[in-house]
Subunit: 270 residues, 2 copies
């Protein structure tokens, strides 16, 4: 029943919701000839506040859905799912499974002057200690200051990305790390690229921002090149967006995250 | 297999998460001799941003769970689920199903001087127009100003119920209704009772607050009395709390909403 996976097969991308479309946007910028199947588990969003067992179970079902759609690789465009489920996904499925976390860590450490790193993300991502662990394993000398920042996603989803209340929230969240003199801030959530303009204004040149969406896309490109799996087929690449729950709100958000309009959203049942 | 339902049977209460425990708290204040089985669908929380179909499907599964635990009545302690699913639940199940919405509307209109009503709630509750419709049907002359306020739940869950950023958010959300001179504000979400102290300070005596948790508990009491279903058994009543996802965060929140400690949380699979 399943078609064999070739270089012409689409990339699969999943996230707990529509935030992962910032990764799709970065992928389409870097790899405009690739077809993409996106799954947003909007019926069960968010994953960030749920337990590791539940996050792993949901992530397995999401990956199974993409694999059954014949994808050549799976991108876990969700920091929480990457932090808790990447090893079990990689051990279970035959296609390559790429998370957002590793590329973000690589990009963080690529700058040799990096000495003090702040990390922000959902409760699930920060509680997993996955970023902290990956960074500490490679550079035990680095100072790490991590904080769960659960109010940021709701502000992004409300579209209040330049609201005085958001600035006040960010000031409170970031104060302990700024007091410790961080030189790099890792945006450990796919919603956060939309906060970059405000963060740049608030932090100025002092703090380098590492966003997991664009670093992940660069990693996927390198991996496809290395394995000779870039799509060379002529003809327009396809973008299929599946959501487990479809609402007007999710569709409007999806457009904001993707940065462009798209065809009809399809309903997925997991 | 099922035991017959009697006056000694427990009340069933469900919510998309742990916010509905504010209703349990109000029930225990008013009906200290009743046993309660609570189900929080924390694996799929929140419902407020999801589509009507999905909300109905989840609510049916939640009610089925409680009914299979032998409850004598089901309280839908979730405004979103009440708004979208109450009629189908009442048509499907034999036990009485009581929502939070009707009692809130009754309490709103019980004050004959009420002329201008503000309503705040999740996107799902406000979009359903359920409160607006119920009020307009009974009192077509009343001015209604409703607004979805999706940032309030995250602030309550973060525990920042007295933060300057929350005040700024509330000022922005409430400004259009205050400009229209509302005399009553309906708190259409079971998280919002925790905002009452701040709202009272911000709004003073001018605006009456109607909270759906305590009005719902009063309605349940009246209904049990009317049907001769009050528990008269001696012996300590039981409180069983089931969650579909169990995390430390959910348990801490649950304690804040319930206002007291409780025994071990049980895991429910739907």
């Amino acid at each position: 029943m399943s078609t064999p996976v070739t270089a012409s097969s689409p990339l699969g991308v999943f996230d707990s919701g529509v935030g992962g479309l910032t990764v799709v946007r970065a992928l389409r910028d870097l790899l405009p000839n690739e077809s993409i199947v996106y799954l947003g588990d909007t019926a069960r969003v968010p994953y960030g506040s749920k337990s590791p067992d539940t996050i792993r179970r949901f992530s397995m079902e999401d990956t199974q859905f993409l694999v059954s759609h014949g994808v050549k690789a799976v991108v876990v465009a969700c920091n929480t799912a990457t932090a808790h489920a990447l090893p079990v996904l990689q051990a279970t499925f035959r296609v390559p499974v790429i998370g957002v976390l590793g590329p973000g860590v690589e990009a963080t450490l690529a700058d040799p002057s990096c000495e003090r790193v702040g990390i922000i993300g959902t409760a699930g991502t920060i509680r997993s200690h996955a970023y902290q662990h990956e960074i500490a394993m490679r550079r035990p000398d680095i100072l790490i200051e991590a904080r769960a920042t659960p109010l940021l996603v709701p502000f992004v989803e409300e579209g209040w990305t330049d609201h005085p209340a958001l600035k006040s929230v960010l000031r409170e969240y970031l104060k302990p790390m700024l007091d410790k003199g961080i030189d790099t801030l890792v945006l450990g959530c796919t919603h956060y690229p939309l906060l970059v303009p405000l963060l740049k204004r608030m932090l100025g040149q002092k703090v380098r921002l590492v966003d997991s969406a664009s670093t992940c896309a660069a990693h996927v490109k390198a991996s496809l090149e290395q394995n000779g799996m870039l799509r060379t087929t002529k003809g327009k690449p396809q973008l299929d967006i599946y959501l487990t729950d479809h609402s007007e709100q999710a569709e409007n958000l999806a457009k904001r995250f993707l940065g462009t309009d798209f065809g009809k959203v399809k309903k997925a049942s997991l």
